[in-house]
């Protein structure tokens, strides 16, 4: 069981189970650590040392890696001064994610505002249209009534005499 897990034969489920057992039973953990130490000792004893150039190659590669993982300096501010503030890759990722989120939220909000604006315009036009209709109806009815009352003035004969509006001298029209 211990050797099987330490040498990497176990699958993920078996490994998880083994770790759980080690947590519950300290003697099992101690046995595992003892086997690991013995394996390390014997592996080092029989190890084949890599060529010396490989060591320096690996170290220089690791140096490049550590340079890559260092925080990136912000080169200049808008005025061209060199900024002392630094920003790490992790922070850059968060900033990028936040800016994408803000952009998406802004687009959604703008679409919402545009739709609301169109609806309001439609409502406003409808109200304006209704008001104009009502005003037109009122304005066309009022002078007609006034004229009707003035024109249908009482005459002596049965004939109805219309006086043309605005004419004092009166060209009277007679409707038979």
């Amino acid at each position: 069981m211990i050797e099987y897990n330490v040498l990497g034969f176990a699958n993920e489920t078996e490994q998880a189970e083994f770790e759980r057992i080690c947590e519950q039973h300290p003697e099992c953990r101690a046995a595992k650590e003892s086997f690991e130490r013995a394996l390390e000792k014997i592996a080092v004893q029989h190890a084949v040392h890599p060529p010396t150039y490989l060591k320096s190659k690996i170290f220089s590669q690791l140096e490049i890696e550590s340079e890559k993982s260092k925080p990136h300096p912000i080169l200049t501010d808008p005025l061209g001064h060199i900024s002392k503030t630094t920003i790490s890759d992790e922070t850059l990722k968060y900033l990028l994610a936040a800016s994408i989120f803000l952009l998406a939220a802004s687009i959604i909000f703008n679409v919402y505002l545009l739709t609301a604006n169109r609806n309001l315009n439609r409502q406003y036009n409808r109200v304006l249209h209704n008001t104009e209709n009502e005003t037109l109806e009122e304005s066309s009815e009022r002078p007609l009534k006034r004229r009707q009352s003035s024109l249908f003035s009482s005459g002596e004969s049965n004939d109805k005499v219309f006086q043309a509006p605005g004419s004092e001298t009166g060209y009277n029209l007679i409707i038979i």
């Binding site: 211990i2 050797e3 099987y4 330490v6 040498l7 990497g8 034969f9 770790e19 650590e33 086997f35 690991e36 130490r37 013995a38 394996l39 390390e40 014997i42 592996a43 029989h46 190890a47 084949v48 890599p50 060529p51 490989l54 190659k57 690996i58 590669q61 690791l62 890696e65 550590s66």
Partner: protein, 144 residues
């Protein structure tokens, strides 16, 4: 370990470099409560070396190398593969009894699954499993 699996120093050097760089990048994943740093590196090395061994380009390169060797051959009594059995962990593991040694070689150093070993050795899966278990018990005794 890497040399035991791959059998040539150039490829082993490349894989070793990759192991260190990968470990450097994923050091946050390492949990000292789960295993020692040595075990972590050992298993990473084995995993990457087996991956390289199974990769198509490596297999093609190896085939052409073997062809070249077979042309030159018979002047050297020992092939590179045999020499690799005499170094590193393989030397230790190969002190196991014959049948157990075969199982460990196929499983640990060549990356075959238990099912594949069962087919290769023409044995039932249960026999292969118990063989591996016996080999590990032997190994434990040996390391004591």
């Amino acid at each position: 370990m890497i040399l035991n699996i791959l059998g040539d120093e150039t490829s082993a050097g490349e894989v070793l470099q990759e192991v260190f760089i990968n470990s450097w990048r994923s050091i946050d994943v390492f949990d000292e409560h789960k295993c020692t740093l040595f075990t972590w590196l050992l298993n990473s090395s084995r995993h990457l070396a087996l991956e390289t061994l199974k990769s198509k380009s490596y297999a093609e390169n190896r085939k052409s190398d073997e062809l070249r060797e077979s042309i030159q051959l018979h002047s050297n009594s020992k092939s590179a593969a045999v020499k690799m059995d005499e170094v590193g962990l393989k030397k230790v593991f190969f002190r196991l009894k014959g049948e157990h040694r075969v199982f460990i070689d196929l499983f640990y150093f060549q990356g075959y699954t238990l099912d594949e070993i069962s087919v290769i050795e023409e044995m039932p899966l249960s026999t292969v499993k118990s063989g591996i278990r016996m080999a590990l018990i032997q190994l434990r005794e040996y390391l004591k």
